[in-house]
């Protein structure tokens, strides 16, 4: 904690502590989302955002919503000392710079896959190995809905993958309720995601003419998030990801065949047990009006997750729907949520935005 925030803490009542923060990878999509959230957060003071390509440019040039922010990008090689360093770089960057990060920061929150998996072996299997496996045990998975108890005081926090987050949030209540025991059938997870998932530097397939209007299988099988789901749910899933025409959003439809018969009441109990007290989780399952099940556009721009379910009596299937904004609950919002828990701040601080209606394809 800096002297500044210590002083603040000592001095007066309201926003007891202020933490200085930096964002590495500030021109990127999740970096921009972090900056947006932190700029509106009562307890954070953003002192640095880095970029190699837009060094010295204003943040608002990359992120037009942040034109009001008086901050310029600086070089990632000149990191300032901060309380919390958020890193939003492509996979492989943080694992190479993690020592450096801890030299300048007390707490590191990494949004990449670099510290998500608990075992180094998994990096050999699913990625290209790991440069700093000694940090893996120290890292805590950011998603409070499954790891809240381990976050307070954590100093290395690993943000979840967005598709993994949607899936884990959808299935965890069933796992906890014991519905997915050894006799359960295959768990099929069919995911639909928006174009922001690819990050700011898209290629030909991400150009507007090619990417508009698609239902495009982009990870038919073998998606790396399977590893994360297995690690945190203890469940092997059949996982397929499709690109659809939206910018923000990840929606997971989980087709589940429980051990034995379940009723709608059982399902409500399982999901309410899991989420009734969660500040960001909503159960949306049937009912009237236009919005009867989880939809990414209902949560766009917010840190909310929506989950819902339906029962297929004919063949004992439960269909679970889960929707998040990949940029918020699926990355930057989850990271700030976890930081709030780690630092003992109110969980919803900086994450109060409730979304828009009507809203098109956010």
């Amino acid at each position: 904690m800096t002297a500044e925030s210590g002083a603040a803490a000592a001095g007066d009542a309201a926003p007891a502590e202020t933490y200085t923060a930096s964002v590495v990878g500030g021109t990127g999509f999740t970096g921009g989302e972090l900056l947006r959230i932190l700029a509106g957060h009562p307890a954070f003071d953003v002192v640095q955002a880095t970029s190699r390509s837009a060094d010295n440019m204003t943040v608002g040039r990359s992120h037009p919503n942040l034109r009001g922010l008086d901050l310029r990008f600086s070089d990632p090689d000149d990191l300032e000392s901060v309380d919390v360093l958020f890193s939003a770089t492509p996979h492989g960057v943080s694992m190479g710079r993690i020592d450096e990060y801890f030299e300048v920061a007390d707490t590191v929150v990494d949004l990449s896959a670099d510290f998500r998996l608990p075992e180094a072996d998994a990096y050999d299997e699913w990625y290209d190995g790991h440069e700093s496996p000694e940090y893996l045990e120290r890292a805590e998975y950011a998603l409070p809905e499954i790891n809240r108890e381990n976050l307070p005081g954590a100093d290395l926090i690993a943000g979840g993958g967005c598709n993994a987050t949607a899936t884990i949030l959808g299935l965890k209540p069933l796992v906890d309720a014991g519905a997915l025991g050894p006799d359960a059938g295959e768990v099929v997870v069919d995911v639909k995601v928006g174009s922001s998932e690819g990050g700011a530097g898209g290629g030909a397939a991400s150009s507007h003419p090619e990417r508009s209007g698609v239902v495009r299988p982009y990870a038919p099988t073998g998606h790396r998030h399977e590893a994360e789901i297995e690690a945190y749910l203890g469940l092997s899933v059949s996982f397929t990801v499709h690109a659809v025409d939206m910018v923000r959003g990840a929606s997971a439809t989980c087709h589940v065949f429980p051990d034995g018969p379940v009723s709608k009441g059982d399902l409500w109990t399982a999901y309410r047990d899991a989420y009734a007290d969660e500040p960001f989780m909503r159960i949306v399952s049937g009912g009237g009006g236009v919005y009867r099940y989880p939809e990414p556009k209902s949560v766009a721009g917010t840190n909310h997750g929506e989950v819902g379910f339906e029962l297929d009596p004919g063949n004992r299937r439960v269909v679970v729907f889960s929707a998040i904004d990949n940029m918020t609950k699926g990355s930057a919002g989850q990271a700030v949520h976890a930081a709030n828990v780690a630092l003992g701040l109110p969980e919803t601080a900086g994450l109060e935005f409730d979304g828009l209606h009507p809203v098109g394809s956010p």
Binding site: T269, G286, G287, G288
Partner: protein, 62 residues
């Protein structure tokens, strides 16, 4: 936010939880559950009894 004098208590037919309804609900009226969002029909008033309303499949454009 709604003034609490103007509410009735009832049991959610799906979850069994106690839920609040506006005081002026009438028998036959459809109202949504604050817990599950499900549309419920008011079956009787004293005590207030609720039942899942039949779903209007077709109004949703299949």
């Amino acid at each position: 936010m709604t003034s609490d004098t103007d509410t009735l208590l009832a049991e959610d037919p799906i979850t069994g939880e106690e839920i609040e309804l506006p005081a002026d609900v009438e028998v036959g009226e459809i109202i949504d559950s604050p817990v599950t969002g499900t549309e419920l029909e008011v079956i009787s008033l004293d005590p207030v009894t609720l039942e899942e309303a039949p779903e209007l499949e077709e109004d949703w454009g299949e």
